[in-house]
Amino acid sequence: MTIIVRRLWFFLITVWAALTLNFILPRMMPGSPTAALMARYKGRLNPAAINALQAAFGLRTHESLPQQYVDYLNNTIHGNFGLSVTFFPSKVSTVVLQALPWTLFLAGTTTIIAFVLGTFIGMVVAWRRGGVVDGVLTPGFVVLSTIPYFWLGLICIYVFSISHSWLPMGFGYDENSNISLSWSFIQQVAVHALLPALTIIITAIGGWILTMRNNMIGTLSEDYVRMARAKGLAPLRIMVLYAGRNAILPNLTGFAMALGFVVSGLLLTEMVFTYPGIGYLFLQAVDNEDYPLMQALFLFVTLTVLVAILLADVVNAVLDPRTRSRE
């Protein structure tokens, strides 16, 4: 279990690094954007809120930098990110927490589908290396994985929503309905999520296929696979249980590296589909120069990604005995 402890340490250090980056960035930049922001708040805020914002953006010049840093950490740990400019008197934390479930839902389902499908296709393609399937699918997915997510999203909107109006072109549910747990609402959510999910899966799957293919080519040349062949086991069994099973592990480790790219694509896809999650919130924050919201979003996304990586590490430690025995 030492590996888990070590990963926990890394988790904490990275959270600290992200917090510190968040602290340094506004202070490194030429002061005008945040000063302009404060000018816009004048007369609209109570002193306490102004105080919190000044602490967050380094506008308290009479305080020393370490004192500002301590104040900032204290505010952030207590979930006090200030007020959003875009959704004015709402707190940033409230706005972000409303959007987070949407993104988690979309990211979770698409990542799992893309991973399972991609791993399976990669397995088959490596098994039939040099064949027609490999010759067509592999370069095909190389091309697909270089398509910008948001652009594919735009094309999907054009084909499915504008030209044919088969599917709704944006948002998470029908405009006039309220959020509830009714059957019709769940249906709406599913229909609205279909296009963004499709976009993400199509562009994300290529990476999984390619890494799985490369891993699988490695395991296929192992002696235990030759042994299995010599024993006359069924090809399907060798492919899945012998070569495939061992090729999945590095793919799972690659999950951590891929996640950053997946999240970036996901955020852009949400922007295109005006899906009510973190990505769309980011776009609104950019449009309105809403720095408090933007910085809180950066922290939340980083934290979510880190938790996901930690989970992948735990799964990896459970599945792969070697990671457990290593000191």
């Binding site: 890394f10 250090i13 370069p139 190389v142 948001f150 951590a256 996640l259 720095y291 996304v301 990604v305």
Partner: protein
């Protein structure tokens, strides 16, 4: 024990050995050329990339109109005069596409190079210096590897609003180096105890000389692969950032074309080519880089090569 490690390391860097075995070393260019011709994926990639580079270089000759001037009716469909139609301001989409290739390519190349240089600097230093420095640099690399890049890029670019191309290049380089550094460190580590480095050190060469003239030449194929990956990342990231309006919208590039197309609701108003065309070009450029990268990967890792069977038949 020491020797045992050295032998083990030698086996691991085996792919770099064959070149020294060749009797008369053919020119680097000739070798790369023959590899490209023999690999269909690489060939396709090189042809697409060359076409885009030629377009960018000869933009003033190739573009039929001034890309920023109103030269036709707004939102015109494709016609003989305007092959890809016009924007809602009556600008020629084809001319914008041709001129826009320049900034897109420059960002890809410069940001890709900058990220690669950072990766080499940090990855190789970590391996070569070892000890505390290695721990520190490796941790920084790991942290940058897992911090999601797009949100960080958005925050930095939003603070430096209106900075244009150079801000984008800086932001991409800062967020894009960690993947390469992570790949370079183990290879540099495996070279560290090789005998030719030992002999250079015994000769009294300083660390900088050893790194630049002895270590780096042995990692060329990996560095090229890292550059291609970084360039691909830069092209896609720049397109994304410009699309959401974080570039300088008055610059002309494929990303800003997407931004203006989307903001003028090109898809809704019947000029889809305003968005389809630059997106297709970005995808083509990205695919060409990915194909070349894929071929380099096969070159560096012989087990991935499909050609092995043919050779066996001979």
């Amino acid at each position: 024990m020491y020797q045992h490690i050295a032998v083990d390391d030698e086996a691991r860097v085996a792919p770099v050995l064959p070149q020294s075995k060749l009797p008369a070393r053919p020119g680097m260019l000739a070798r790369v050329g023959s590899v490209i011709l023999s690999n269909r994926k690489a060939l396709v990639g090189v042809i697409i990339l060359a076409a885009i580079v030629v377009t960018a270089v000869f933009a003033p000759v190739l573009a039929p109109y001034d890309p920023n001037a109103t030269v036709g009716p707004p939102g015109a469909p494709p016609s003989h005069a305007f092959w890809l139609g016009t924007t809602s301001q009556g600008q020629d989409i084809l001319s914008q596409l041709i001129w826009g290739s320049r900034e897109t390519l420059i960002i890809g190349i410069v940001a890709g190079l900058a990220a690669t240089m950072l990766a080499v600097l940090i990855g190789v230093s970590a391996a070569y210096l070892g000890g505390v420095a290695d721990n520190l640099l490796s941790s920084v690399t790991d942290i940058f590897l897992v911090i999601p890049a797009l949100p960080l890029m958005i925050v930095i670019a939003a603070y430096a609003r209106g900075g244009g191309m150079w801000v984008l290049i800086g932001v991409i380089a800062i967020t894009g180096w960690s993947f390469g550094a992570r790949q370079l460190r183990p290879q540099a580590l495996s070279l560290r105890n090789r005998e030719f480095l030992e002999s250079a050190r015994v000769r009294g060469e300083n660390s900088a000389y050893v790194i630049v003239f002895e270590v780096l030449p042995n990692m060329v194929s990996l560095i090229v692969a890292i550059f291609l990956g970084a360039a691909l990342y830069a092209i896609l990231a720049a397109a994304g950032l410009q699309f959401i309006g974080l570039g300088n919208p008055s610059d002309l590039s494929w990303g800003t074309m997407l931004y203006w197309g989307e903001n003028n609701e090109a898809l809704m108003t019947g000029s889809p080519l305003w968005i389809v065309a630059p997106g297709t070009c970005i995808a083509l450029l990205g695919a060409s880089v990915a194909f070349i990268n894929y071929a380099v990967d096969e070159l560096a890792n012989p087990s991935l090569r499909g050609a092995r069977r043919k050779r066996a038949k001979k």
